[in-house]
C-alpha cells in the first residue's frame, strides 16, 4: 500500500464519511503501531493480529463518533479502543482469570539500581518485548495500562475487577520486575 500525504484531519474527515481511501490510509499509518500495542497485551501473534483487525473494524465503524482534537488524537483514540478490546479478551481468557490477584508476588527488587535513560534507549526492541512478556498476565496488563497507555488506577481497578490499591501494588511490582530485568540485561551486556 502506498502512503499518501493526507493530514491526520483529512484522514479523520474521510473516515467519518466512510471513504475507502481514507480508511486505507488510516490502516497504513496506524496498523503496525496498533499491532505492537496488541502484542503487549496478548502474547500470541495471531491472536494479537486478530485483535488488531477487530479493533480497526470497530474504529472504522465508529469514526462518526470521533472528535478530532489535534495531532495524535486519532492514535490515542484508537489505542483506547484496542486496549478496551484487549482487556475484554483477556478477561475471557481462563488463564488470565485463574491467577489470583493476591498470589501475584513481587520479585527481588534492586532498590539501589536506577538505569540510565541512554542505556534504556540502546536496548533492542525484541529484548524489551521479552521483558514485558515475562511479567505475569495480570501484572503485565496493569503495567501496560498504567505505564504505557495512561489509564488511571481507578480505571484499571474498574476494568479488571480489582481494587485501586491492588492495581497500585501490582504496578509497583511490575516496575520493579522490569528494573530487575534491565539490571540483569545491562550487567550481562557490560561483561
Amino acid at each position: 500500500m502506498r502512503k499518501s500525504f493526507l493530514t491526520e484531519q483529512d484522514i479523520a474527515l474521510g473516515c467519518a464519511r466512510k471513504d475507502r481511501d481514507a480508511q486505507g490510509e488510516l490502516y497504513a499509518r496506524y496498523a503496525d503501531g496498533l499491532y505492537a500495542l496488541c502484542l503487549r497485551y496478548i502474547e500470541d501473534r495471531e491472536e494479537a493480529r486478530d485483535l488488531m483487525h477487530d479493533a480497526m473494524i470497530k474504529v472504522m465503524d465508529n469514526f462518526s463518533s470521533f472528535k478530532y482534537s489535534g495531532e495524535g488524537s486519532i492514535k490515542a483514540w484508537m489505542s483506547r479502543i484496542a486496549v478496551n478490546m484487549a482487556i475484554d479478551r483477556l478477561k475471557n481468557n481462563s488463564r488470565f482469570r485463574q491467577i489470583p490477584i493476591e498470589l501475584v508476588s513481587g520479585s527481588e527488587i534492586e532498590d539501589a539500581f536506577e538505569p540510565d535513560a541512554g542505556q534504556v534507549e540502546q536496548i533492542p526492541d525484541g529484548v524489551l518485548d521479552e521483558m514485558i512478556a515475562e511479567l505475569p498476565p495480570v501484572r503485565r496488563t496493569v503495567f501496560n495500562m498504567y505505564f504505557v497507555d495512561g489509564f488511571s488506577h481507578k480505571e484499571i481497578a474498574k476494568k479488571l475487577g480489582i481494587t485501586e490499591r491492588g492495581s497500585t501494588s501490582m504496578m509497583a511490582k511490575a516496575k520493579a520486575s522490569i528494573r530487575n530485568a534491565l539490571f540483569n540485561y545491562l550487567n550481562k551486556t557490560e561483561k
Binding site: 500500500m1 490502516y27 496498523a31 503496525d32 503501531g33 499491532y35 505492537a36 502484542l39 503487549r40 493480529r49 483487525h53 480497526m56 473494524i57 472504522m60 465503524d61 475484554d88 479478551r89 475471557n92 536506577e114 538505569p115 540510565d116 535513560a117 542505556q119 534504556v120 534507549e121 526492541d125 524489551l128 514485558i132 505505564f147 504505557v148 497507555d149 516496575k175 522490569i178 534491565l182
Partner: protein, 363 residues
C-alpha cells in the same frame, strides 16, 4: 517519573510491530465478512421494526386532521365537490369521459376487509420430540398488517390495556396410542427411554404389547408374524434381529396391523388367513445431506467426512456442535437450525441441505 521510565514509556508507546505482507488483504476479507454480517443484521432488524413502524405511520395518517379544519363527518358529506365533470342534463352517448372524484389523501390506506390489526406467524412448540422452530427474518416479512380505518382507531384506543407477546408457546400432549381403522399406532416420542435403547426396550413399554423369552411379539393378544421397516417386510420370521439391531431413537412410530397372507395377495383369492405385521417407520433425517455450518456469519470449513459421519439426531444443540467443531460448549452462544427451505432462501444453493448457524460468545 524518572528519566529511564520516561524513555521506556516513550519507546513502548511508539513501538511498531511488523505485520505480514498479506495483512492488508487479510484485513479486507475480514472487513468484507463483517460488513456482510452487519448488513444481514440490519436487514433482520429493519424487518422486525418495519411492522411497528408501518403501523405507527398509518396511525399518524389516521390521527392527522383531515385538512382545513373541516370536521371529518363534513368531509365525507362533501365528497362530490371533487367531481370535475358530471352533468345530468347531457345525454349518455354524448359523454366522452367522466373523471372520478379525487379522494382526500388521508383515506388512501384503507383495506376493506375487517381483519385483526396485526396477524403474525406465531412459533409454536409442538412436542418435545420435534425440532424447535427457528427464528428467521422471512417469518417477520410474511407478517401482515391488516387495517381497516375505523378498526385501527378503535384498536388504538384500547392499546393501553393491550399486552404485546413475543411468543406464544402451545404445549400439545402427545398421544401414546392411536387407532386408525385396524391399525394400532404407538408414538415412540411419548415413551421416554434411555439413550441408545433398542427397539425391544421400546416395545416392552408399549401398552398391550408383549415379548416373550423367545422374542415373539403379541399385540393385544395377536401374535406378530412379520416385522417391517418403512412398510417393507425385511425381518421375516426373525424378530430378534429387528429388535436388537434397530435402536429406539431411530423409530418414529410402531404400527401394528393385519394384512392378507402372501398367498391371497399373490392369487387375489382371499384364503381367510391374515398375518399380523408390526411396521416400524424410521424417523426422517434432520438434514437430507451434509448441512452447511455457519460460524459467526461465515461459512465454516468443516471436513466433509466428519460432517457425513456425524449423527445430528433429531435435535441439534450446543453439545453436539461443540463435538463437531471442537469448540468448548461454553464458548458457543447460540445454535440455530435452518431447514432446507429456510436455508435456501437465505443462502441460496449453499443452504440446499440446511444450515446450522453457530454464534460464539464474543470475547
Amino acid at each position: 517519573m524518572k528519566d529511564w521510565e520516561n524513555t521506556l514509556k516513550e519507546r513502548l508507546a511508539n513501538r511498531k510491530a511488523e505485520l505480514p505482507e498479506s495483512d492488508w488483504n487479510d484485513f479486507l476479507s475480514r472487513r468484507a465478512a463483517h460488513e456482510l454480517a452487519v448488513k444481514r443484521r440490519r436487514r433482520i432488524i429493519s424487518a422486525a421494526f418495519s411492522i411497528p413502524a408501518a403501523a405507527a405511520v398509518l396511525l399518524l395518517l389516521f390521527m392527522m386532521p383531515t385538512g382545513n379544519g373541516v370536521p371529518e363527518n363534513q368531509v365525507s358529506e362533501n365528497k362530490p365537490q371533487a367531481v370535475t365533470a358530471v352533468v345530468d342534463s347531457i345525454e349518455a352517448n354524448t359523454v366522452d369521459s367522466i373523471v372520478k372524484p379525487v379522494e382526500p389523501e388521508t383515506e388512501k390506506p384503507v383495506i376493506k376487509k375487517e381483519r385483526p390489526l396485526i396477524r403474525e406467524k406465531v412459533p409454536v412448540k409442538r412436542s418435545l420430540a420435534e425440532q424447535e422452530p427457528t427464528e428467521q427474518p422471512e417469518e417477520i416479512e410474511q407478517s401482515q398488517i391488516l387495517v381497516n380505518d375505523n378498526h385501527l382507531i378503535a384498536e388504538n384506543k384500547q392499546s393501553d390495556d393491550m399486552i404485546g407477546l413475543d411468543m406464544v408457546a402451545v404445549s400439545v400432549m402427545v398421544s401414546k396410542v392411536q387407532m386408525v381403522n385396524d391399525t394400532v399406532m404407538f408414538n415412540s416420542a411419548a415413551f421416554k427411554l434411555p439413550e441408545s435403547s433398542s427397539v425391544e426396550d421400546l416395545i416392552r413399554k408399549l401398552p398391550g404389547v408383549k415379548i416373550d423369552s423367545t422374542g415373539s411379539i403379541t399385540v393385544n393378544g395377536k401374535s406378530v408374524n412379520k416385522i417391517a421397516v418403512n412398510d417393507q417386510v425385511i425381518y421375516d420370521n426373525n424378530n430378534t434381529v429387528a429388535l436388537t439391531q434397530l435402536t429406539a431413537d431411530m423409530i418414529e412410530k410402531v404400527k401394528a396391523y393385519q394384512k392378507n397372507s402372501d398367498l391371497s395377495r399373490m392369487t387375489g383369492i382371499d384364503d381367510g388367513n391374515e398375518e399380523s405385521v408390526m411396521d416400524l417407520p424410521v424417523k426422517r433425517k434432520l438434514f437430507p445431506g451434509n448441512p452447511t455450518i455457519i460460524l459467526n456469519g461465515q461459512i465454516a470449513d468443516v471436513d466433509e467426512d466428519m460432517l457425513s459421519g456425524f449423527d445430528f439426531g433429531r435435535k441439534v444443540n450446543k453439545r453436539k456442535m461443540s463435538r463437531l467443531l471442537g469448540i468448548p460448549a461454553r464458548e458457543i452462544k447460540t445454535v440455530k437450525v435452518y431447514d432446507t427451505w429456510q436455508a435456501r432462501k437465505i443462502w441460496g444453493e449453499k443452504g440446499a441441505n440446511g444450515v446450522i448457524s453457530v454464534t460464539l460468545v464474543s470475547r
